[in-house]
Assembly symmetry: C2
DNA sequence: TAGAACCCTGGAGTGCACTCCAAGCAAGTA
DNA sequence: TACTTGCTTGGAGTGCACTCCAGGGTTCTA
C-alpha cells in the first residue's frame, strides 16, 4: 500500500470532471461527497476514490435523479452494508424513471420527425 | 362551416390537458398561446385549435425544449409562412438534442443495471 | 334573487440547482 | 520578500418554470 497516493486540488478536479469549484464545494456542503481530505492548512485534497465517486454521481445526474435523492443515496452508502436493500430500491426506481423518460423522448422524437417532414425538412435517421 | 363550434372554459382545459389554470394563463401571458378568444365578459373560451396547439406544446415540453424556445417557435408560427425555414431549424436542433439525451439516458441505464446487479437486484430487461 | 362556484388581473412567492461575492488566508515564483 | 495566483468560508444572488395570492367581477343552480 503506497503512502504517496495521488491527491488533487479543487482546480484539478474542476478540470477533470467539468464541475465548477463552486459546485464541488456545494456537493460537499450538502452531503453528496464523503468528507474530502484536507491539507495541513485546510485546503481540499481529492483522492482517486473521490474522482470515482464524482463520476458515478455524474451518471446519476445524467439520469435526471434529483439532488435530494442523490444525497439520500450518499447517506445510505455512508451507513454501510445494511442499507443495500434500500440502495437497490432507489436505483431501481430511478431505472424505471429513466426507462419511462426514454419512452417519452422517443415518442416526442416521432412527433418532431413528422413535423420536420411537414416543413420539407431533411430529417436524418442517423 | 358551423357557427356553434365547441368552446371550453379554463377549467375544462385544465381537466383535458392536465395543465393548471395558472399555467394556462401564464402560457398566454408569455406568448406561448395564440391569443385565446374571450366571452363578452372577458373570460377565456378555448377552441379545439387551442387544445390541439396545447397538445403540440406538450410534446415540445416533453423534449426538454426550454420555454424561451417554445415562445420563439410560437412567434414564428404567428409571423406566417415565410418563417418555415427557421421553424424547421429550431425543430431540427431540438431533434438533435433529444437524440443526444436518449443516448445519454441509455448509457446511464447501463450503469444503473450494472450497479443494481452488483446489489443482487432483479434488474429486468423489460 | 341569493349563494356557491368559477374566472379575472398584476404581482409576489416557491423550489431547484447551481453560481457568485466579499474578505481573508495559503502557496508558488522572481 | 513581494507579488500573483489559488483556496477558504457563510451567505446572497440567479434563472427557470411554474405556483399562488388578494381583491374583485361572473355564471350557474335552487
Amino acid at each position: 500500500m503506497s503512502l504517496t497516493q495521488t491527491r488533487y486540488t479543487i482546480s484539478e478536479v474542476e478540470a477533470r470532471t467539468g464541475l465548477s469549484q463552486h459546485t464541488l464545494r456545494w456537493y460537499e456542503r450538502i452531503g453528496l461527497m464523503p468528507h474530502v481530505d484536507r491539507s495541513h492548512s485546510g485546503q481540499r485534497r481529492f483522492s482517486d476514490a473521490d474522482l470515482h465517486w464524482l463520476a458515478f454521481v455524474g451518471k446519476l445526474r445524467a439520469t435526471g435523479m434529483s439532488v435530494a435523492d442523490m444525497v439520500r443515496y450518499a447517506e445510505l452508502v455512508r451507513e454501510g452494508a445494511h442499507t443495500f436493500a434500500e440502495r437497490r430500491e432507489l436505483l431501481e426506481r430511478t431505472r424505471r424513471d429513466v426507462a419511462a423518460r426514454i419512452a417519452e423522448l422517443t415518442d416526442a422524437l416521432g412527433v418532431l420527425d413528422h413535423k420536420i417532414a411537414h416543413y420539407g425538412g431533411k430529417a436524418r435517421s442517423t
